[in-house]
Symmetry: C2
């Protein structure tokens, strides 16, 4: 029995497209074609088609029978729902961490990484460090799986974040992370929850501006 299974080509196509959508390389509303992509990657339509199906299952694409496949637009209401879920979950996680007071060096490390990325203008590194900060908090709370359970919701928010990086200076984001970490280190559950909620509510002010700047990328 093999332990490391060979990755199927359909899987590779899926991962490639998935990354393109999240990075904004394939913008919302873009039209896809099974045969066109198949020709690009030198495969038949079938594996590409299966990648499309998985993208649609992720809520990142929409397959219209006999009409075409399109990259899904960003639903502002879906973003607001996802944000609400994240706020509720991370608020609870913050309380747990503040009470348990585990080792938090991982969070400190991600803040520093984010500082460097911000200074260097390295957008992918900044986003990765941001992700890892929140993931580290879930791990510190003893529930690492929670973070991956929210993968589907984060995908939508990641697309938004790539756009936001072009319009907002993220120095404030780092300051908010520092505030969260300070409250966690102090073991102050109330302050940690408040700082976390305030951080995630930042999106409420940014979302309308991004949606106004790229109206063709959004739906209600």
């Amino acid at each position: 029995m093999r332990l490391t299974r060979p990755i199927s080509t359909a899987q590779q196509v899926y991962e490639w497209l998935h990354g393109c959508v999240l990075r904004g390389d394939l913008p919302p509303g873009a039209r896809l074609s099974e045969s066109e992509i198949a020709q690009q990657v030198g495969l038949s339509r079938q594996p590409v088609r299966e990648a499309f199906i998985r993208l649609a299952a992720d809520g990142l694409a929409e397959v219209l029978p006999q009409r075409g496949t399109y990259i899904g637009r960003i639903s502002t209401s879906a973003i607001l729902s996802a944000r609400l879920i994240r706020e509720a979950v991370e608020a609870d996680l913050a309380r747990m961490v503040a009470r348990a007071r585990p080792d938090l060096s991982a969070l400190q490390a991600q803040i520093e990484a984010q500082d460097h990325a911000h200074a260097a203008g390295d957008v992918p590194a900044f986003i990765q460090a941001d992700d890892l900060f929140h993931r580290a908090m879930a791990e510190a709370a003893g529930h690492p799986a929670v973070w991956s359970d929210l993968e589907r919701l984060k995908a939508q928010m990641n697309r938004l974040r790539h756009m936001a990086m072009r319009h907002f200076d993220r120095a404030e984001t780092i300051a908010q992370h520092r505030a969260i970490l300070a409250a966690l280190l102090a073991g102050d559950a109330d302050a940690a929850e408040a700082a976390t909620r305030a951080h995630l509510r930042q999106m409420l002010t940014e979302l309308p501006q991004i949606a106004a700047a790229y109206p063709e990328y959004f739906t209600t």
Copy 2:
């Protein structure tokens, strides 16, 4: 342009299998076969295969290349993560509803429906009413989309619930719903949150017993 698109056969196969898995009709660990299912429903392997891919994307099945497709076992850690997320989210929703004090007749109606289903021993109706109660709370909070965003997590919990229905009397569940509704009607946010969290923590005591009763259906 058609507004009501005809449902593809692959979609129908997916929905059928999805229902079978959630109802426990296809138990965890069960082996599936593209050709076997295709023969049963009178189709070729392709639509069945695509249904398998979607099931795997939902975390309900596992496709092992050249080896077979199996209904996923229920991960106790995944259930605990999903439960934690639901508790955090519904606690926040309960606070919102308690503060906004909207019309709550929908919640009352679902409690009564659940009462009838419990008395009649109608398991599917009971589960449906349970779902609708929580969904109604999300709607009352003004965020109906939140409930559907958690669909993927609820799928795992629904499988568990079908097993739990055979081992636990659900009268207590209804009483907990009544307690939540009473707190909401009183506009007491703290009490509503506490009642909601207590209700969802019920699973923490039931899960180990179910997992012990059906060890072959669970993994860590």
